[in-house]
Amino acid sequence: MRKLRRTRKQRRMRMQRLAVFSVLAGLLLLTALFAEQLCPYDPYMQDYGSVLSAPSPAHPFGTDRFGRDMLSRVIAGARTSIFSTLVLVGIISVSGTAAGVLCAYFGKWTDAVVMRIADVCLAFPGLVFALAVSAVLGGGTGTAVIALAAVSWPKYARLARSRTLEIMSSDYLAAARLAGDAPGQMIVRHILPNIAGQILVTAVLDMGTMMMELSALSFLGLGARIPTAEWGSMMSGGRSMLQTYPWVVLAPGSAIFVTVAVFNLFGDALRDCLEP
């Protein structure tokens, strides 16, 4: 009885934690969505009257070397960074899951070929993909997203594949097969609902990692193009001024840190609720 009460309390605490972090994550998404309305200044407007001014009431995060307001750039950067991360995670989780489920379901040749391709992609440096994609399509955030998608989907494919194999050997799936369900029906009705939770948790926990990887590519000059407000490239631009004007680096850096932290906490809370 006491144990039961405790688990109930634990569950309530978990739900509360999930609620808090989903609100925080939601706030970040809203910031990204309404970035234009939230910026106090135009993030691209150069003002040579106030170049590299320290944080003040007028410019809470200071200004950069072109006199652009850092707060506005950080907010505008939220849109670039968070949206591109969402797109990236969406692409890899959907395509990876599809590949994994199909491999497990059809086996044999499909499985062997797709999994070898996955091995190749896993061993391929994302940096080099980014180079090749940027040479063909031109640079930009899209380049970094494509490059990272190409090397990150195998993780989901492997997860989905092993889970599907597990489910395929279960009795209820044999029953469904006996009942005469078509392959498509089996996948949509019985397999996908069973692995969706795990994939979702992995995807949310991946948000932080992927955001860091995307901004790292931008930091190296292979992601967002120069004037675009993006956290990684803002840090790269300010890195030589670290000694005298630290806010140019600290503002976007803290933005990445806070966003990654919120998504990690949200993912943890979600996992605790979905997979107790």
């Binding site: 061993a123 391929f124 440096p125 040479a135 790292a216 190296l220 990684g232 990445i256 932290a261």
Partner: protein
Amino acid sequence: MKRYIIRRLLSLIPVLFGITFLSFALMHAAGSDAVLQSMDASGITLSREVIDARRAELGLDRPFLVQYFSWLGGVLTGDMGVSYVSGRDVFSTFISKLPATFLLAGASILLTVVISLPLGILSAVRQNRFTDWLIRGCSFVGNSLPNFFTALLLIYLLAICIPVFPVISEGIGVRSAFLPALTLATAMSSRYLMQVRTAVLDELGKDYVAGERARGIRFSATLWKSVLRSCMTSLFTLLALSVGSLLGGTAVVESVFLWDGVGKLAVDAVNMRDYPVVQAYVVWTALVYTAVNLITDISYHFLDPRIRLEGGRR
């Protein structure tokens, strides 16, 4: 066992082929070659005929597959062509950057063990007390910091505010290796100390710990002798997997600290569109990745009798 190793080795061949082929195809699709690059570099516009003649001279007019196989043949004999930018031999340039990357990898693994092992054990022993919360908090912060931000923060704190270490590396040495190694170790320890904590907690819950306590053996003796040994294995497995990414050269950290290793070479080559060097980097990462995977698989095979049994039955 022997059959298992042979099978694993054979399954690597298509992967290595795939990686080299993919990188070659990507560079081909990127659409620039040695002749155009040298033309861009020298700033002289050449006529169509001269470009074609030079291409024929270098064998760049041959079909794509022929070029791929002749390049692959070169790779096997240690000939990867010359750099578009410096004009030097790619293979020897690449080899000359390896020691720096090895040093950095070694230093950061050493630091990771030194940081994550004691903290992980401490955190497990003091479970749910203040120390545990503090350590877990730090680990969470470390997990949410991107490498380049950690690097810049460490530079700001330990090289600018308190000038203890050089901002950028002054040659390849232990003093210059410290900050980049600490950057890498921060990220790795944050992850590993939680794993060590879990492993130790698992071990502490086992019956023999209670048994030893009942027999009056001091807790510290149990901890250091039995528990530590069992979690060392799990830590080393994790480290083995990290070695792969470290030896691939940690592009971001090496280029922030201007550490003259493989990763920085790759970033520079990528920014300059120096394709032969990029190719060499791809081959290297592919080799490291497959080798590390192979070694971990085989060592699992040796270490864990359950897996060995399964392999033997097949």
